[in-house]
Symmetry: C2
Amino acid sequence: MRNNSNDFNQIYATERRKINTILYNAVKNRQPSSLYKPAAYILHSDGKRLRPFLVLLSAKAVGGEFKSAYNAAAAVELLHNFTLVHDDIMDNADKRRGRLTLHKKYDHNTAILVGDSLLSVAYEYLLKDCNGNSKSILNSFTKGLEEICEGQSLDTEFEKRKKVSLEEYVEMIKKKTASMVKMCCEIGTFLGNGKPALVKALSDYGLNIGIAFQIQDDLLDITAKEEKFGKRIGGDLIEGKKTYLFIKAIEKSTGKEKQMLNKVIENKGIRINQVNKYKELYENLGVINDAKRAINSYTNKALKSIDAIKNKGNREILIWLADSLIKRTK
Amino acid sequence: MRNNSNDFNQIYATERRKINTILYNAVKNRQPSSLYKPAAYILHSDGKRLRPFLVLLSAKAVGGEFKSAYNAAAAVELLHNFTLVHDDIMDNADKRRGRLTLHKKYDHNTAILVGDSLLSVAYEYLLKDCNGNSKSILNSFTKGLEEICEGQSLDTEFEKRKKVSLEEYVEMIKKKTASMVKMCCEIGTFLGNGKPALVKALSDYGLNIGIAFQIQDDLLDITAKEEKFGKRIGGDLIEGKKTYLFIKAIEKSTGKEKQMLNKVIENKGIRINQVNKYKELYENLGVINDAKRAINSYTNKALKSIDAIKNKGNREILIWLADSLIKRTK
């Protein structure tokens, strides 16, 4: 697929530029600047823009056109940035994409308000593209937003709990991460006037690559190369987060190994110099391979569901995208 | 209007109960409880429910029925509660309606997330009532949300600035407070299928009673009886807020009186035992009467705009409501 891959990369780069322009314009020249300057700061960070790209691809996959969905594409990225700003406050994160987080660059109150404001502008942009089937689009977007809040709440709850099952974890990431990816695909199919069966196919594709994406995130935290990753390796372990790998490790371990893992929970994290020891433990328990298998399994589910897309080019670019997500290094 | 007043009070009490039931049900039995229990906590506080009542009255004023607008009415109250939760974090407020604020009862992160979640449920409820003219309704709601964020940002900006003109202040409260009241009326008229002239009439009514409401708030801060008010008298002066009365006082004062007022800005507030001294100054400068005149003037503008409503009962309950707002003691 090398030739196609070049083409797809080029389409992605072109559309990413267009989406960036819409995003920058969305907050440019608005008043007061005390609100929209910080909003521009977060939108000018170097985001992948995968969610808006998925809106466009989904519109096309069901026979529609990119041009029917640019504002909605911007809307999902605005929504995504709203979650980043509020999540960074909640996680007390200092850096995002190599730059200061919004509440560090400005202050907490500004960050709360800018998050709220980005969400309002997201609805404004979504409404620009809403014509015929606006209720389905708005219901999907709103349901996505609700689930993101629920997922974030569950994530916080899990951090405080001693025991979380793998099933509960997958339910959580479905809401926190995958629901938005699913929603992007749904909105695209609505804007492309897709038939119900295709809406369902794309929705399943989005849900499953969303789950795969989050498990890949958990995996990269321990297997990535720091210089490419842009963050400290083992950050999740240092913070004592219950990731896919950690929960799987707890399930598979016994004796001393289980004790070692329970210490992460008791001490609410590990020290930086312990990361390698835990990486070894993960390798010994085989959970790195377990995570890889899970990522492949969810990705395959996603790919299977889009068999229904007749047009080869439209289908292959979605396959390429799913593939790129698995192979990503950051 | 004594007899009518009794009737209107009864209608208000009945509808307030119905709105409360919808609001309580909106978050009941939802999971996770870590999110929806705190959401229920804020919704169970003793709110006036004036905004949802305005949605209902506006629907009826243009010839529609209450029953077409109950979900939208709940939506504006959910939106209002979202702003209360986030504003209380930003203001670091301890109490709201005599109870602990949400971030004090729970924690900051929960309050940020519950605010976001209330907003998502607000859109969900709004969409339930959206049928024919859903785009107008959603545009109005979203524009209201945007302006609330802008108004809140301006308010924060003004707190840091040395000088704010009365004109700037009115622009700020138009966005922070009045835009939501205006939006409530607009949405009601859309749901009642009102003609454009009536939509405009009710929209102007909402905007102007919204402005009057906020100036009344500023006035009550200094003239209310503490036992009825439920808050400390002079709180705005203690916090150094630039209210209608304060800005007017700065404009009218000279010499020693101006110095006294400038000290509030320099010291970012006054001490509790200085409140009476400043109240006297406000009286001497006549700004308490100025505020009363402004409230009357905006209320009269509001009442004039609803002359267009033909049905006497529908018009008089809106007059009664505007009147109650002026006469309120808390």
